[in-house]
């Protein structure tokens, strides 16, 4: 669902600003996420999405209303909501006899669904069931992926990327060491079960500079079972992963710095044609008619001598 270029101009300055903020940019901010309820959501899926929403909080929206739709059959509602909320990630919860406690996680590209992965929540322990101190909202968590299955199975490979996309928050330049408080661990087995656990990091003394790490589970603790997937085609995925030219670092040629830090440039000059150089015109430098006549005679003589010389040579 690519958006058409607007034909009508925005009438107000404010409207123009809103449209400009929605334009694609070379470097994007954190991805927003929408959590929705599908057909007949169970209490467990509701709570599960709510917990993930809590982990993701400033960059997410939780929609309570039930929607009678199946993401794998018709994703237009997701695309619509993502367009409305300017979101690129989504989670949908539903429940049925065939697929109990069904969670669909996915992401969009250019307001169209890119990846969609269906997971069944087999075991779930909510955050509120762990009676302890939680982490601050908006922290960048450490993401730990365990198990060789993450690399062997293509669906799990994409799911690893999706989980990273969902939880990594934002690219940051620097991080406060005391702010490393949260770890989310994903452990995948060969039979498609993913154990998601969330821990608070406790930094203990170790007698060295680097601290000893102790973990304390804060929830949610979820055992996912991999169900259906709908992954993007390779060319679309490649297009989505394109790095803009602005973000690439391009080294400039012929520029160097010496030991004192001053900038040195190497330039290339073509050969200058001095004969064609236009110098300043002055009346005093102009040739008199007599001089010009003599020049002409001289030229003529030179030509004649050249002509005479030629046949002699041959």
């Amino acid at each position: 669902m690519a958006v058409m270029q607007r034909l009508k101009k925005p009438t107000t300055r404010r409207g123009k600003k809103v449209l400009q903020s929605k334009d694609p940019k070379p470097t994007e901010g954190p991805k927003q996420c929408v959590f929705m309820q599908g057909r007949n959501p169970s209490e467990r899926t509701k709570q599960l999405l709510k917990d993930i929403y809590d982990l993701k909080k400033p960059d997410a929206a939780y929609l309570k209303r039930k929607n009678d739709f199946v993401p794998f059959e018709d994703a237009t509602l997701i695309e619509k909501m993502c367009y409305k909320k300017e979101a690129a990630l989504f989670g949908v919860g539903s429940h049925s006899k065939k697929r109990p406690h069904n969670i669909v996680l996915g992401r969009t590209f250019d307001y169209g669904v890119l990846d969609m992965i269906e997971l069944g929540a087999e075991n779930f322990k909510a955050m509120s069931e762990f009676q302890n101190m939680k982490v601050l909202a908006g922290l960048k968590p450490c993401l730990v992926f365990n198990g060789p299955a993450w690399d062997l199975n293509s669906d799990l490979k994409r799911l690893k990327s999706l989980f990273t996309d969902l939880f990594h928050r934002e690219k940051v330049e620097s991080i406060r060491l005391q702010g490393l408080e949260h770890t989310i661990s994903f452990t995948a087995t060969d039979d498609g079960i993913i154990y998601m656990r969330s821990y608070r990091i406790q930094l203990k003394k170790s007698g060295q500079r680097t601290p000893r790490i102790e973990l304390e589970e804060i929830g949610p603790s979820i055992d996912f079972k991999l169900r259906r997937t709908k992954l993007a085609a390779d060319d679309l995925y490649k297009e989505a992963c394109r790095i803009p030219r602005e973000a690439k670092t391009i080294t400039k040629k012929n520029i160097s710095r010496d030991a004192f830090g001053s900038k040195l440039g190497r330039i290339h000059m073509g050969k200058q044609d001095i004969n064609r150089l236009q110098t300043r015109k002055m009346k005093g430098l102009k040739k008199t008619p007599e001089e010009r006549k003599q020049m002409r005679i001289k030229n003529k003589q030179a030509k004649q001598t050249a002509k005479q010389a030629q046949p002699m040579e041959t």
């Binding site: 940019k25 993401l143 730990v144 365990n146 198990g147 060491l177 821990y199 601290p211 589970e217 394109r242």
Partner: protein, 354 residues
């Protein structure tokens, strides 16, 4: 030696008090410190993982080990102090995640921008305010307060001589402005269509599809034929070719629209018309064109004077000298020699040769 042993022992005791920060792994882990990501591809302990009792314990210890390794890496990075907080600079993330929106493309140039680029025209910056001599104040070039200034300035608009004195100049001005706005909008849409490579209908003839109908083609041919300076009077025709008729022809070809026939005059009106005509013929008087008369008179005078000059005898003494020829027949021309006839005896005129 005792002292050394004592210190070593104390250190060992100290070290035993703390748990280690090192972790042994069969395969090294994969790190992406930019995104605080680590991936452990070592085999899992399926026995501990499958039993419900030991699972959480196992996962906790596994996660702890891997987090310890990740944090060890982070603590190795150079730190700095920012407002009483110790901060590490993270490297660029290596995992490539898909974007939310495509990479923006550079905006396509408009037709004018393309032209300006080809010709090397650069935009000149104009001042936002301009001094208005009439109002004696600074007036903005456009936008806020421009319309008010314009209104103040144009409290009266003169109707030019060549126009009907009853024309509403304000209405005319407003119309011209709205035309300009409409043209600008059309050009904007055309630029968008060009950028999107959309086919847009031409302005002249209405084309409903890619191929024009026979009717439209014949209309186009007729209009094209009439598009000469002489309205196609001297253009060749095919045998049996007929001009197209109908919509589009009469509007585009001047003089093609049928004149409405005048109503048949009544007897009285006709009589009056004829009498008027007769009067105009009988009462004809020669018109006097003063300019023409004056020039004619001057011309005759000039002719007369030139005649007199020709007939007048040249004044002064007649020229002497040999071979001077007839002085009366003197002309500005170069004197000629014998004109090709050899007669050495005869004295001829001509230039004296030395």
């Amino acid at each position: 030696m005792d002292i050394v042993n004592e210190i070593l022992e104390r250190e060992q005791k100290k070290a035993e008090k703390y748990k280690p920060i090192t972790v042994d792994k069969h395969l090294p882990l994969e790190f992406d410190i930019g995104t605080l990501f680590t991936f452990d591809s070592n085999d899992l302990d399926t026995k501990r993982l499958n039993s419900d009792k030991t699972r959480d314990e196992y996962l906790l210890s596994l996660s702890r080990d891997n987090t310890q390794l990740l944090l060890n890496k982070i603590w190795e990075l150079p730190t700095e102090r920012v407002e009483e907080a110790i901060v590490v600079k993270l490297p660029e993330p290596t995992t490539v995640l898909p974007r939310a929106k495509p990479v923006p493309k550079p905006r396509p140039l408009t037709k004018w921008q393309e032209f300006a680029k080809a010709k090397g025209i650069t935009k000149k910056k104009k001042d936002k305010l301009q001094w208005d001599e009439q109002l004696q104040k600074w007036v903005p070039l456009y936008g806020f307060k421009k319309a008010a200034a314009e209104k103040e300035k144009n409290w009266l608009i003169e109707v030019p001589q060549n126009l009907d004195p009853m024309t509403d100049m304000y209405e005319k001005k407003a119309e011209a402005k709205s035309e300009k706005v409409a043209k600008n909008e059309l050009q904007r849409l055309k630029n968008i269509a060009r950028a999107k490579k959309v086919k847009i209908p031409r302005v002249g003839l209405p084309v409903t599809s890619d191929k024009a109908s026979a009717n439209q083609l014949s209309t186009a041919a007729t209009v094209a034929r009439a598009s000469t300076a002489s309205l196609g009077k001297f253009q060749d025709r095919l045998p049996k070719e007929k001009d197209a008729r109908g919509k589009g022809v009469h509007e585009l070809i001047p003089g093609k629209d049928r004149k409405r026939k005048l109503p048949v005059p009544t007897a009285k009106v006709e009589q009056q018309n004829n009498l008027n005509l007769l009067d105009s013929i009988l009462n004809k008087r020669p018109k006097i064109d003063m300019d023409k008369a004056v020039t004619k008179h001057i011309h005759t005078e000039q002719v007369q004077r030139s005649e007199e000059k020709k007939n007048e005898k040249p004044r002064g003494k007649p020229r002497k000298g040999k071979g001077a020829g007839n002085p009366t027949k003197f002309t500005a021309k170069k004197p000629k020699a014998g004109k090709g006839q050899r007669n050495p005896g005869k004295k001829t005129g001509g230039r004296k040769r030395r």
